[in-house]
């Protein structure tokens, strides 16, 4: 019943065709979470791949969460915050930007696929953008296939 079980741990071609990535999205409460809500109220359809973790601010997202999500089986991680200059707390997204600019390059350096980490600025009025980002990211991560590199065997 759960999406996780349809992952192609078992090899069959059918399972692989059905496989959809699982994406953990850290969305700031004020912009991106509101944008995701707006996508809902606007009834915009997007793939059921994303699981949102609500955080007050993108500045709250510790890069360690990224590794933990990949460890536990996520195929991609999205960090979404207010546009630069619009942070509800003025500066949180600027710190997040520095942290994740480095983090993305670093996971790439460790041999992971950089496209497993997306950082996007999505405002509370950008329901469309939220849906688009989920669509695009789902497609990009699907192309990479399941994350196996730092995933725990469980």
């Amino acid at each position: 019943m759960s999406v996780a079980k349809t992952k192609p741990e078992a090899d069959g071609a059918n399972a692989a065709a059905e496989w959809q990535p699982k994406i953990v999205a850290f969305c700031c409460n004020w912009c991106s979470y509101a944008g995701a809500d707006l996508a809902g109220t606007s009834r915009l359809q997007y793939p059921p791949t994303v699981r949102i973790v609500r955080v007050p601010c993108s500045g709250r997202v510790n890069p360690r969460f990224l590794i933990r999500a990949l460890q536990r089986g996520a195929d991609g991680v999205l960090v979404a915050g207010c546009h630069p200059g619009d942070c509800h707390y003025s500066t949180g997204n600027y710190f997040a930007r520095r942290r994740f600019l480095l983090a993305r390059r670093f996971i790439e350096y460790l041999g992971l696929e950089p496209d497993r980490l997306w950082v996007k600025w999505i405002s509370g009025s950008e329901g469309n953008k939220f849906a688009d980002v989920v669509r695009e990211m789902s497609a990009a991560v699907a192309k990479l296939g399941p994350n196996r590199k730092v995933r725990e065997a469980r």
Binding site: M1, K22, D37, P48, V55, C57, V61
Partner: protein, 659 residues
């Protein structure tokens, strides 16, 4: 062990049509620590809430998960519900299975699976919740109003009338703002000064209001209920307590300077009041132009001042004001016409702006109310008005509508026709927008009764020819070129943000939009609040506005400020950062990332063996912390945690995504 209750909402068919509620409740029942699962048609309804309260009592629940709509919708509702049942309101988590699930997915199987994941995440997180309480802080019952235009005046008077002290800070030497420069006001044509100046006087006479004119806000510290504002009182070179405003000084002053108030169309002296009805009626020396400051001699004003009020060596004075609330009413400025080279503003004196026209038509203006064109003082026979100069023009100007130009141009047309008999008035427009009480009627009066010719189309060029200004335009309704030989061309300039609006926003810690206008907390529901608690917006600093709207917004901001000041104490956020002192290394890497300066070092003593040692740790001021959590990431040793969004809670959620 936690005892968690899960309440799954159908939201009528909003959720139930896409998500299999039965499967969700079944799965929830198997999740760790879940002792009770219920579903309800409408959990937010009174019966729905009652069932939560009942279940808390019946099953001894100590934590609740509601799987329903967005927490942004009903988190507060359900916090109150569980609070009524005796639980701490923060022992609640919402799984958003409507906006972020049933409404965005069509596939029932996938949506149900996702809803189960979302519930599992919420259950995992709520198991880590702890009861939170918020601290309270006292309120300084005094407000500051920044800006002394009509918005600031109205807000100050209203707050003062509500019984609170008000400090008004105005950077120019007088109250009044742009409204003082206007002649008549639409749509009633009553004189601007007649309705404004009594209010200006009321401000200085009000026992609860302190006015700091010719002063600027330098720094804002503190937080809602307890702001500490540093104000620079600029040196006027005149002792305000002695100056009587008699005028002897400026009569005798030998230096003539272009008057800012008259937009350079008239002159003032180096010692001056901006206009005769200025409040406070205190002289100010313009040190950039005063001969004494430039060359070290003159001092004529001092000789003629009977009150002995001239103080040449006066220094700026820094004062600190403590206030509980701040109303920002810093206004706007006129769009800079330089972008429209084809209209020749600045090149040809007979191309002027709407605000300059106000000075020409004003009885106390440089021409004493006679409309004379600036080049030769001739009374114009043909006047062309061009609307939307700067506004609604993404290429050269700003994309928004400045909201006042349609109406003030109609007013200018009426005034021209009234004052200059037989004059011809042409108005080039893109649209005529009249959304206000009496506005459409006023426009009709201009076009129908007063005979202003409205031409729909843009002007491509304005150039001089034989003492006239030739206006090349187009009438798009008739589809033909229009050439008007005008004596005077008036550009309806748009409104833009003050050049230092962003700097002010940063000082205050409020946000601003791409155009520099300060941003309200919600465009519809919180139109005068900012995202910074205790700071409110009034007037054109928030966006282009006419006088009625400005006054209405000022009243609204004042009522918000007064309501805040009426409170004995303020409750701080409960979800704030906290420091585990046993872990804290005291490195204070958290300090620079805190936007609210809520973190500082404190020294603690602790027993180590038989010795008492002191060391430094970080401390969070609960009144300043807004709970953004940026510090928790800067904290390498996880000594800082954000209540409600702890590392443990977020890790639990992340781990629950992929069971």
């Amino acid at each position: 062990m936690p005892r968690i209750g899960v309440f799954v909402c159908w939201c009528g068919s909003n959720i139930a049509a896409t998500v299999d509620i039965g499967q969700v409740t079944e799965a929830a029942a198997e999740m760790p620590h879940v002792v009770c699962v219920e579903d309800n048609k409408y959990t937010c309804s009174e019966p729905g809430q009652a069932s939560i309260r009942q279940a808390i009592a019946q099953h001894g629940l100590d934590r609740v998960v509601v799987a329903a709509c967005s927490p942004r919708m009903h988190e507060n509702t359900f916090r109150k519900t569980i609070s009524a049942a005796g639980l701490n309101p923060y022992l609640l988590e919402i799984a958003n299975i409507r906006e972020q699930c049933s409404w965005v997915h069509a596939d029932r199987v996938a949506a149900t699976a996702k809803a189960i994941d979302l519930v599992r995440m919420a259950v995992a997180k709520v198991a880590q919740h702890s009861a939170l309480t918020s601290s309270t802080s006292p309120v300084t019952r005094r407000a500051m109003v920044i800006g002394g235009g009509i918005a600031g005046i109205q807000a100050a008077l209203d707050i003062a009338d509500a019984g609170h002290e008000v400090v008004v800070v105005e950077r120019s030497p007088t109250l009044g703002g742009h409204m003082a420069q206007l002649d008549k006001t639409f749509p009633t044509l009553d004189c601007s000064a007649c309705i404004l100046t009594p209010k200006m006087v009321e401000v200085v006479q009000h026992p609860k209001i302190t006015l700091y004119a010719y002063s600027e806000v330098e720094k804002v510290d503190g937080y809602v209920g307890s702001f500490k504002v540093t104000v620079r009182r600029k040196a006027r070179s005149v002792d305000e307590s002695k100056c009587t405003g008699c005028g002897a000084c400026w009569e005798k002053c030998p230096v003539k300077v272009k008057s800012e108030f008259d937009l350079g169309l008239g002159t003032r002296k180096a010692i001056y009041v901006p206009f005769p009805q200025a409040v406070p009626a205190k002289a100010t020396i313009d040190r950039e132009h005063c001969i004494y400051y430039l060359r070290g001699r003159c001092r004529i004003c001092e000789r003629f001042c009977e009150a002995k009020a001239i103080v040449f060596d006066q220094q700026d004075e820094i004062i600190n004001v403590e206030v509980g609330a701040i109303v920002v009413a810093t206004g706007f400025q006129q769009f800079d016409q330089a972008a429209y080279g084809e209209y020749g503003y600045g090149e040809y004196p007979d191309v002027i702006t709407g605000l300059e026209f106000e000075r020409l038509v004003n009885a106390s203006g440089p021409t004493e109310g006679k409309i004379k064109r600036p080049s030769d003082g001739k009374v114009p026979e043909t006047v062309v008005f061009i609307k939307c100069v700067g506004s609604r023009d993404e290429h050269k100007g700003v994309p928004y509508c400045s909201r006042t130009c349609c109406m003030y141009t109609a007013k200018h047309a009426i005034l021209t026709r009234e004052k200059i008999h037989g004059s011809k008035v042409f108005i080039f427009y893109m649209d005529v927008r009249t959304p206000g009480k009496g506005y459409e009627e006023f426009y009709r009066r201009a076009s129908e009764e007063d005979g202003a010719r409205y031409l729909r189309g843009r002007v491509s060029r304005v150039y001089p020819k034989g003492g006239k200004m030739v206006v090349l335009g187009e009438d798009t309704l008739l589809g033909r070129k229009v050439i008007v030989e005008a004596d005077l061309v008036v550009l309806a300039s748009g409104m833009i943000a003050q050049p230092d609006a962003q700097e002010m926003a940063r000082k205050l810690g409020v946000s601003y939009d791409q155009h520099g206008f300060l941003t309200e907390a919600h465009p519809k529901l919180r139109p005068v609040e900012t995202n910074t608690a205790g700071i409110f917006l009034a007037g054109a600093c928030q966006g282009p506005k006419d006088i009625p709207d400005t006054v209405a917004q000022a009243c609204a901001a004042a009522s918000k400020a007064a309501a805040l000041l009426n409170r004995e104490a303020l409750e701080a956020e409960a979800m704030i950062a906290c420091v585990d002192e046993a872990r804290c290394s005291g490195c204070l890497w958290c300090e620079p990332v805190c936007p609210y300066k809520a973190i500082s070092a404190k020294t603690i003593s602790e027993r180590v063996g038989r010795r008492t040692l002191t060391r430094s740790v970080a401390e969070v001021n609960p009144s300043l912390c807004h709970g953004c959590g940026a510090c928790t990431v800067a904290c390498r040793d996880s000594a800082l945690n954000l209540l409600g969004f702890t590392n443990q809670q977020i890790l639990a959620e992340v781990e629950a995504v992929c069971p």
